[in-house]
């Protein structure tokens, strides 16, 4: 090919009058391959190519046209081309230039970009499917929470009925204890269902709800002061914490009962740890607690172990129970 063809950035192919490829410039070799030797390896339309060359044969100037390239997908437009008749003596050949394909001087890069675009499309489709699946699972999860809440409510009602129908004081006390524990679980479950987030629930709201329930179940007028930081706790922490707080509050209300009875519940968090403190102004803990109280503390200790926490009790103007436990990264302050 004439050296001046090196200045042409678009693919240029020189054909003999029978369609054999005589020469190609570098962009054309990159585009169509070194081994291309016939129009058949470039264009899909015989008649269109013949018409173009015929038109070119009638003039000295390049003629414009559009041809379907081999391997092009249906959505791709035909390639814009220019054809120029080359006359030498009585012989005629044709130079055909592909227009507007300067970017294809990097065919490997173009192919890679196409491949990446395809991959992005596939990933987007997968992501859309996953998002849809996640939304569906969230609906199912909420439905499950709703049913658990309803079932707990039903169990609570059954337990209350059993307590009311019994004349046995021991049985009544057992039912009341059971009712208290189930109420704690119910409060936590109710809050979990009402929370927008499926990851956890607000500890401050849960403790306030628990305090109200304990108050109403105690059957006596006693002030419970709740001071809790707005922290969102994961579900696997919230339920044991609800039972712990319920147990400690129930004990405190029981022993603080009196004309000036006062119970407080504090929940604070510091770096990586949270502390729940329940305090009353009763007689304080006996050196070796026994009976139902010690049984309740045993439950608290067991639940503390479950959440990796620790229970400390002391007497300081009344009974003071301090539960400290690690607060994972999943827990965070509510906005």
């Amino acid at each position: 090919m004439h050296p001046i063809a090196k200045l042409i950035r678009e693919p240029v192919v020189v054909f003999a009058d029978d369609g054999h490829i005589i020469d190609m410039n570098r962009p054309a070799r990159l585009r169509f391959g070194e081994s291309a030797n016939s129009w058949r390896q470039l264009f899909a339309d015989l008649e269109g190519f013949q018409n173009l060359l015929e038109r070119a044969s009638g003039t000295s100037d390049p003629v414009l046209g559009a041809l379907r390239l081999i391997g092009s997908v249906p959505s791709e437009p035909d390639a814009k081309v220019e054809a120029l008749a080359l006359r030498e003596g009585g012989a005629i050949g044709y130079a055909v230039k592909l227009r507007d394909v300067v970017g294809d001087q990097f065919p490997a890069l173009t192919a890679q970009v196409r491949e990446l675009n395809g991959e992005v499309a596939v990933r987007r489709r997968i992501q859309a499917e996953l998002e849809e699946s996640l939304a569906h699972n969230k609906v199912l999860y909420r439905e499950l929470q709703h049913r658990v809440k309803n079932h707990l409510q039903m169990i609570l009602a059954l337990v209350s009925t059993a307590g009311r129908e019994s004349d046995d004081p021991g049985r009544k006390q057992f039912v009341k204890m059971l009712q208290s524990k189930l109420s704690a679980l119910f409060d936590a479950q109710r809050l979990m269902y009402s929370e927008e987030s499926a990851d956890g629930l607000r500890v401050d709201q849960m403790l306030s709800a628990l305090a109200e329930t304990v108050q109403s179940l105690a059957g006596v007028r006693i002030a419970i002061v709740v001071r809790a930081e707005p922290v969102i706790a994961p579900n696997d922490l919230a339920f044991p914490l609800a039972l712990i707080a319920n147990e400690l509050l129930t004990n405190a209300v029981k022993y603080a009962a009196g004309p000036e009875a006062a119970v407080s519940l504090d929940f604070v968090r510091s770096e990586g740890e949270a502390v729940l403190t329940v305090r009353d102004n009763g007689p304080g803990f006996a050196p070796a607690a026994s009976g139902p109280t010690s049984s309740g503390l045993g439950l608290v200790r067991g639940l503390c172990r479950q959440i990796g926490g620790h229970l400390a009790i002391k007497s300081d103007g009344g009974a003071v129970a301090v539960v400290s436990f690690p607060l994972s990264e999943a827990s965070h302050a509510a906005v």
């Binding site: 009058d17 369609g19 013949q50 038109r55 044969s57 009638g58 003039t59 000295s60 220019e82």
Partner: protein, 176 residues
């Protein structure tokens, strides 16, 4: 209510010439004069091919002579109100002149439309005489008072910028 009485300069010929002016103007604005000329050449070549076939069929000849080519080119221009005439005819050239363009005032500022004349003249001459080089010496579209078109009948080493036309050949492509 009929609007026939309104003084609106519109009928089919006027509408088509306006359409052509606007189309060629849009083409010049969008792709530039050179490329617009290329597109109009494609149209001109097709029109030239069709007219050449009509005249040869009407005159019942396989090929027109140089004399007939000059007559045909003048005739076809006059039929479309181009008012062309042969200003000079020699062995190696035919010079055509005109004081009016078939496109009328609509051609002003549309030099790409001159490729219609170049291609029709070139195609008819090239197909019948084997060769033509068409040079637009003057053009109303370029602001000249009239048009002057020289059709050279023999190749010249110093062809300049004039466009050359040849008898077309349809390649027999090997189905490799």
């Amino acid at each position: 209510m009929s609007l026939d009485h309104l003084d609106i300069d519109l009928e089919r010929d006027m509408f088509l010439r306006t359409l052509l002016r606007e189309l060629s103007g849009a083409l010049q604005d969008v792709v530039g004069l050179e490329e617009a000329s290329g597109y109009i050449s494609v149209v001109g070549a097709a029109v030239g091919k069709a007219l050449d076939e009509k005249y040869r069929a009407a005159l019942a000849v396989d090929r027109l002579s140089a004399e007939q080519v000059a007559q045909v080119l003048v005739d076809l221009k006059q039929r479309i109100k181009g008012d062309f005439y042969v200003a000079e005819q020699r062995e190696d050239r035919i010079v055509f002149a005109s004081n009016s363009c078939p496109f009328g005032e609509f051609v002003a500022g549309r030099p790409a439309l001159c490729m219609m004349t170049s291609n029709v003249f070139g195609h008819v001459t090239g197909e019948n005489l084997g060769y033509a080089r068409v040079q637009i010496d003057k053009a109303i579209a370029r602001g000249d008072p009239g048009c002057r078109v020289t059709v050279y009948l023999t190749p010249n080493q110093d062809g300049g910028e004039a466009r050359e036309y040849f008898r077309r050949v349809r390649p027999e492509l090997a189905d490799l």
